[in-house]
């Protein structure tokens, strides 16, 4: 994966840059030595590492504004970083850029249970929000599996999901407001404690913009009352078709579970060997479902789902009768990635979404691709919403193996798009899928998105090299091409 070549002019300004930053943040919040910068050289896409020119850790919005203004004046690139948990390289530094770390923005500013929202700084962890409000019976619903470590600012940038987004939506459906700093230093507020935008939905636009449109400095999130009960079901099937059919039937019955996950045989075996959760080893596919809500509703739905599963040939059908048992059903699924990871020196976690009903077909084709490329793949699937996580096993120490794993991953994502899905369901494009964007979008589609970028950051200083495969000058992008257009139907009657 190629990153833009470091600009010698930027590198030449390093001393001037550092002097400028020293005037904005205390010395302790500026890291310019190799050892100090090392922890920032990569995120969770650890195969790719780059040391930035300097790392700066601002503590308030005014500092962020002044830092961006300085970088714009010097034409120096900026890469924002939250928890550093991105699986797509979203916060991979640039060698000729500043790494803007938001970790010091770690306070919960306000919890408002009347208006059911919380105002927090972007460096607060996803789970940290829930922890701040659970005493009052509330929680913040989107739950990416990295929630202990990922930051809410990063969640906004990636529009993160998680197991429960099937019922409760993604980050974008749970955000009320954001304070945002543009590359020219301007501070803008989108939304607030009220619902809906007064004009264009710019809040929706910047959510999932992967650090390319601005820097998040404050977040207002929607809180929900914690459901009084949650029960789990562990359902084993003799075939992937049966499991997929069960998912379709559940939806067709009008039931939207809080969570509905699927694991294939390889993933089940790996997880069981790793944590001994009690998963059945003789099934082709396992569904882990969660139903939450008021007790009467949960009991009603559990009975309905059980019947649906049995009608779809489920050979294993366990329903949790205690919180401990519910957690045990999830233990294997939560450990699936490290469990699969323990089978090989390295693994790639892919992230595509497909229409649910194509699942069995896609899994078969992934198996064929796996054979063709000579690398093992285990599959974990957010069955409820079609988001697929094929886990490609490889050994980066072997020559070419990283490239081969990436090639297999790319083929899998092309397959996702081919069957009517998308390249990424929750991890973001970052650098990982950047070069596959033309698989999903035409040049016109991409150029229209780039024009949006130009409206926010005309100099392309924020996170260049991520998401879009080619950089264009904004002036070029603005030009209209005269087409010699004719009104297309001169012989239609006039009204």
């Amino acid at each position: 994966m190629q990153m833009p070549l470091p600009d010698p002019e930027s590198l030449a300004k390093r001393a001037e840059l550092i002097a400028g930053l020293k005037a904005i943040v205390p010395a302790a919040n500026l890291v310019a030595d190799q050892d100090g910068m090392r922890p920032y050289e990569c995120d969770a896409l650890s195969a790719y590492r780059t040391m930035p020119m300097v790392v700066v850790l601002p503590e308030d919005t005014a500092q962020v504004s002044r830092i961006l203004k300085l970088c714009q004046a010097l034409k120096i690139k900026v890469v924002p970083r939250g928890g550093g948990t991105s699986l797509s390289g979203g916060s991979l530094p640039l060698a000729d850029g500043v790494l803007l770390a938001l970790g010091k923005f770690n306070r919960v500013l306000e919890t408002d249970f009347v208006n059911r929202c919380a105002v927090v700084q972007p460096g607060v962890t996803n789970l940290g929000i829930t922890k701040a409000v659970e005493h009052a019976g509330f929680y913040y619903a989107p739950d990416p599996s990295s929630q202990i470590a990922c930051s809410i600012g990063g969640n906004v940038a990636e529009n993160s999901g998680g197991v429960h987004c099937l019922k409760y939506g993604l980050t974008t459906n749970n955000l009320l407001g954001v304070e945002f700093v543009l590359m020219n230093g301007e501070i803008v507020r989108f939304g607030g404690k009220h619902l809906d935008a007064p004009g264009y939905d710019l809040l929706g636009l910047i959510t999932g913009s992967e650090g390319l449109l601005g820097v998040v400095t404050e977040v207002t999130v929607r809180l929900l009352r914690k459901p009084p009960m949650a029960r789990g079901l562990l359902l084993g099937f003799p075939s992937e078709e049966d499991a997929g059919g069960c998912v379709a039937d559940i939806i067709a019955h009008g039931i939207i579970p809080a969570g509905l996950e699927m694991m294939d045989r390889d993933a089940i075996h790996a997880a069981e060997a790793f944590v001994h959760a009690g998963y059945p080893l003789d099934v082709a596919a396992l569904l882990i479902a969660e139903l939450d809500g008021p007790a009467e509703e949960v009991d009603h739905l559990v009975a309905a789902v059980e019947k649906i599963a049995r009608d779809r040939n489920a050979t294993v059908c366990k329903v949790s009768t205690s919180e401990a048992e519910r957690l045990s059903f999830w233990a294997g699924r939560k450990a699936a990635f490290p469990a699969v990871g323990s089978l090989a020196p390295d693994y790639f976690c892919m992230d595509g979404t497909i229409p649910r009903h194509r699942l069995a077909e896609v899994l078969n084709r992934i198996r064929a691709l796996s054979k063709q490329h000579g690398l093992r793949v285990a599959n974990v699937f957010h069955a409820g919403d079609g988001n697929l996580h094929p886990l490609i096993l490889f050994d980066a120490n072997l020559p070419n193996e990283l490239k081969r794993a990436e090639a297999l991953g790319a083929d899998i994502l092309r397959l996702c798009v081919e069957v009517g899905g998308v390249l990424t369901g929750e991890h973001g494009v970052g650098i990982e899928k950047r070069d596959l964007m033309p698989v999903m979008f035409s040049e016109i589609d991409l150029n229209q998105q780039i024009r949006v970028k130009c409206a926010f950051d005309p100099d392309h200083l924020l996170n260049p090299g991520k998401v879009f495969p080619t950089l264009h000058r904004c002036a070029e992008m603005g030009r209209l091409h005269v087409t010699g257009g004719k009104l297309p139907f001169p012989d239609l009657p006039r009204f």
Binding site: D112, V114, N115, R116, N159, C165, G169, T172, N173, E186, V188, F190, G192, K193, H194, L195, D196, P198, G199, Y200, D201, L202, L203, T207, R225, P228, A248, I251, H253, G254, I256, P294, A295, E296, H300, L301, I354, R356, D385, G386, N387, G421, V422, T424, G425, K433, M440, S442, D445, Q448, V452, F456, V467, G485, L487, P488, F489, L492, R494, F495
Partner: protein, 406 residues
Amino acid sequence: MSEVIQPRNAAELTDTIAWAVEHDQALRIDAGCSKAEFGHAVANARPLDLKAMRGVILYEPEELVLSAAPATPLSEIEAVLAQRNQMLAFEPPDFTALLGKSGATIGGLVACNLSGPRRLSAGALRDHLLGFQATSGRGERFKSGGRVMKNVTGYDLSKLMAGSFGTLAVLDEITIKVLPAPEKTRTVLAFALDDAAGVALLCRAMGEPVEVSGAAHLPASVAARSAVDYVRNARASVTALRLEGPGPSVEARCQHLRATIGTAVATEELHSVNAVALWRELRDVTLLAEPRDRIVWRLSLPPSEAARVVAAIRANNPNAEVFYDWSGGLVWLSLPASAAMGNDASEMLVRGAVNNHGHATLIRAPSDMRARVRVFQPLAPALAALTARVKDAFDPKNILNPGRMG
């Protein structure tokens, strides 16, 4: 500006807009025209009528997805969904009573981002828009999103299209998420609470584990106009909380909710037919539709501010009528069209009361008033500049619905 252009398909639509771009010809985008008088008037523009671009293109109930052409009537979509016990969870309103014209289309709804009472729990229209194909004001056909909910590939332009009043691009294909319709609907009513107490009760109920899917408060004078007996004959304010879902669940939750409210406040329960009727009245703002010459505003506020803002407006205009939806997050306000009041002074009154807690949009007013006041909330300078640049990214010559949003 005479002749109406009526493209039959996406290719003709794109060709038309490309032609308009080249000839600097502004276009007014029309579908059902039921909300033509919402927003500022589009002057000096040739009508582009999408009425031939209608029909459901794709509907897969088990995939919870439906795609349709922009001029597909809402009624057609809802009928198709009803056959499979599904719905548009964001509960799009029908403003026939309010604005006087029927014929809502999916394109118009998306352009205005209109959602009803269930927006509170299920999300707004923009939360259900999965993807689209459109032609920009540059005359280029482009797409964004897809047909799946879990999609973070590229910028979320669907959110931008929703509520952009046709000023960025003209949609030719709209893909939305659909959801199962609830099996049962009940509504718990509480009576005789003043505005502040009513909204406070709504907020309290939202914090209870009963999954409220509609939370509204009707002051007595507005409740008196309802067609639902229990509401009209209450002769008092009515605070309404909707519970939907499987039968046994709804029953149990109603009981829990009434127990939570306690016995100091009188409560009642509306069963399905009446419950559905009441929420439809609230969804469609029927109760403020008459008399037809009254000015109607829509305020978006944090619930904790709602009663106070309304009180400030009432202090200056005792003839103001309101009801609260979205647990107090949405206030529908009607003001008399009296010459003495001065229609324009109402803007200062309303915007002054709202201050910077939220925003206010003028929904219904005579065309001369809409020409003079700001229909949409004025934006802070940096936001206004950014908005202009975003518009420029899609429609640099300002040919699509120029001036519609001010």
